[in-house]
Amino acid sequence: MSLTDVLTTLQGLPLSTVIAESDWLFPTLESLHVIAITLVVGSIIVVDLRLIGLAATKRPLAAFTTQFLPITWSAFVLAALTGSLMFLAKPVSYVGNVFFLSKLALLLAAGLNMGAFHLFVERRAHQGQALGATRAFGLASLTIWISVVALGRWIGFTI
């Protein structure tokens, strides 16, 4: 079964048809997606600005990672769920859209960036060491997430 077959099968699902044809379902999913994205980005900005050292440097880094990253993750689950449902409405068009593919690639990059920070730098960052690396990871994260929002907006104009 090729990718095209999979996508065509997805597009033919009753759920896909319901989302594609309903007058209110798609805008509702979009609204929930916006709510989720703003919470993902809003909470990650808090952590990133602390990592970069632009805000609240007197408060320990752990105070932000423990309090705000759970919000990032919960909101990300909602964003991924609503995003997948919107994808179901037109899977063939989305997979052929360069902005959609770039957005997925950047989401992967955001995950790798977070994972690398956690593995290699976080422990030292909590002790106030590796300031340069900490700053670089924060800056990378901020850049990636702003680009994710921009690409999401470009999908809307090109799909």
Partner: protein, 167 residues
């Protein structure tokens, strides 16, 4: 009067620019969403603190003082980018009921946030800032209003203009 304003706006250089530069509208919308992230995120974080769900080691007034200034700047940028989005298609948003519902909800949300600030600062001066029932009620109301603003904003793109609106 609204028709005359839209007709005037349509022939301004701003509209001409926004219609011709394909990258302009998505860029403005991206900025608009990033600022929504700051305003809505800030509102949610302040309210999670009020309900004791995050940052329990920080006073409510401190968390409020951290998020309110960037939220205020973001609101100003939202007004500017929002005005530019109207100018990009003058015959659209202003002639839809849901656009004016959104404007009304924004005024209420800003008023609720301001009330919240007053209650919290008064509480902090009085007894160290225990979250009273009124603070909690306003907190819940603020979030509901911002969620309403986001839904109404998305619906502007789908609603049709009222009878007699320009095309």
């Amino acid at each position: 009067m609204l028709n005359a304003f839209a007709a005037w706006l349509l022939h301004t250089p701003v509209t001409a620019f926004l219609e011709n530069a394909a990258w302009a509208v998505p860029t403005i919308q991206t900025l608009h969403i990033l600022c929504i992230a700051i305003v809505f995120g800030g509102a949610v974080f302040i309210n999670l603190r009020i309900f004791g769900l995050i940052e329990r080691d920080e006073p409510v007034a401190t968390v409020l003082g951290r998020f309110l200034p960037p939220m205020t700047i973001a609101i100003i940028i939202l007004a500017i980018t929002g005005a530019l989005l109207i100018a990009s298609e003058p015959n659209r948003a202003m002639f839809r009921v849901v656009f004016w519902v959104k404007m009304g909800l924004i005024l209420l949300a800003v008023a609720a946030t301001w009330t919240q600030r007053r209650l919290i600062l008064a509480g902090a001066a009085r007894d160290g800032g225990a979250a009273t029932l009124s603070v909690r009620l306003v907190a819940g109301l603020t979030i509901l209003l911002w969620v309403g603003v986001i839904f109404a904003g998305r619906w502007i793109g789908y609603a049709t203009g009222w009878p007699g609106s320009p095309t």
